[in-house]
């Protein structure tokens, strides 16, 4: 017998079915690649993608900078970076042709902070996890692919919310966790779908909303460049540009000034050289990060005059960029060590299961409708015995 259902329920049922079925294939790819990417640091370390530093001790930043300039005499340095949480003891140097102002054609090199030696120059984007990440985040389509990812995230959020609306009427006669076996494959799969869906709903919501936000990261950075950064660059329009190959003030001095200027517990994460898309022709931009909790995920920026070595200004980043910074850990689950990674993996695999089993339910229902076209199959009771 088919139970009477409201228009609101029917609307959400259709919404759940169609948003889910459209998102099925991409979501399967995202779940599979995402499960591997949870362990990206571990895989990269095992494959030696980012070489490790030789030890703690004194940080020979000056030696690393000198080695960087000696190793690439015909190139300009775009930036140097430090990641004490994930890659302690290592400095990343990024170089490009002197006329380049962005990272599109950049080369990467790693330096051991303990010895000042260059220890590798493999581009992580060409590694196994780098290729998987490009598929996961951009579908090999660049910024357009990121927007596609945002659309998939939106479809999943709609599917989750509509699934929540239709959940209660479907399960009202079944104990939570009970799977009806021996009464047909459809009822068994439906019970599994509802049960596992209820278990992972909160996690799936966090990951899909953060994935939706991350899809707009390129656009957000672009908006910041043409608004806030453009205003800063206009303010310094009259400043004499520096020689991008040999700025008057060295990056080492810039690091010292920025470290002294940073709030307690914060340190330099990246130094962007003058004459780039993200700086002015006469200023370095330094990104500062914290070391614990939320601070480890936040970024402050400061601009330093490349003529004098003085702090020119603090740059307040807008809230939409902070939202992007916070979305990344909430999407990849890389902020709670191995226990959180295991939780992420379990939820990812469960989501993979309900995605596949939901698609099976959708196509099985259509097959049944073709075989029995007269059967009303829109209400709650159509799935009931």
């Amino acid at each position: 017998m088919t139970a009477p259902v409201s228009r609101w329920f029917r609307f959400n049922l259709r919404l759940h079915r169609w948003t889910s079925v459209i998102a099925t294939l991409p979501l399967l790819v995202l779940c599979l690649t995402g499960t591997v990417l949870i362990f990206r640091e571990e895989i990269d370390a095992a494959l030696g993608v980012v070489p490790g530093g030789t030890g703690e001790g004194e940080q020979r930043v000056a030696e690393c900078l000198a080695t960087l300039e000696r190793s690439f005499p015909d190139q300009r340095v775009l930036s140097v970076g430090f990641d004490p949480l994930n890659h302690p003891g290592v400095m990343l140097g990024v170089v490009a042709a002197p006329e380049d102002t962005g990272f599109d054609r950049a080369r990467l090199a790693y330096f051991d902070l303990a010895s000042g030696r260059m220890i590798g120059d493999e581009d992580p984007a060409e590694s196994f996890t780098g290729v998987l990440f490009e598929l996961h985040a951009e579908w090999f389509l660049g910024p357009v692919g990121r927007l596609l990812g945002a659309l998939i995230g939106l479809l999943v959020v709609v599917s989750l919310v509509s699934g929540l609306v239709i959940y209660a009427p479907y399960v009202r006669r079944i104990a939570y966790g009970f799977i009806r076996v021996g009464r047909g494959a459809r009822l068994k799969q439906l019970d599994l779908h509802n049960f596992v869906g209820a278990v992972v709903l909160g996690w799936a919501f966090v990951v899909s909303v953060s994935g939706f936000l991350l899809g707009f990261s390129t656009i957000a950075l672009g908006v910041w460049q043409v608004t806030d950064l453009a205003a800063i660059r206009a303010e310094y329009q009259g400043a004499a540009p520096v020689d991008v190959l040999r700025p008057p003030v060295s990056a080492l001095r810039v690091i010292e000034v920025a470290t002294a200027h940073a709030q307690p517990g914060w340190g330099v994460r990246s130094v962007l050289y003058p004459g780039m898309d993200l700086t002015t022709p006469a200023h370095y931009a330094v990104l500062l990060g914290g070391s614990e909790g939320l601070d480890a995920r936040m970024i402050d920026a400061v601009m330093i005059d490349a003529h004098t070595g003085e702090v020119a200004r603090d740059v307040a980043l807008p809230n939409y960029l902070h939202a992007m910074f916070l979305s990344e850990p909430l999407h990849f689950g890389d902020y709670g060590g191995l226990p959180l990674k295991l939780l992420w993996s379990a939820c990812n695999l469960l989501t993979l299961f309900i995605t596949a089993n939901g698609a099976w339910l959708f196509f099985d229902r259509r097959r049944a409708q073709r075989l029995r076209p007269g059967r009303a199959a829109e209400g709650v009771g159509d799935e009931e015995p």
Partner: protein, 52 residues
């Protein structure tokens, strides 16, 4: 709780957010809260499989 189990997902959201904001004990507590839906689901599944 009957028919309202998906709302336990709010605990996952709260736990994961707490882990992002805090360190040390907050991390441990956040993780414990975040896994409640999985743990409760596992218990319910075991209970439902037990012959009555």
């Amino acid at each position: 709780m009957k028919n309202r189990e998906p709302w336990l997902g709010l605990l996952t959201v709260a736990g994961l957010t707490a882990m992002l904001l805090g360190e040390g004990l907050v991390d441990v507590a956040g993780l414990a809260v975040a896994v409640v839906p999985l743990a409760y689901g596992g218990l319910a599944w075991r209970r439902a499989r037990r012959p009555s």
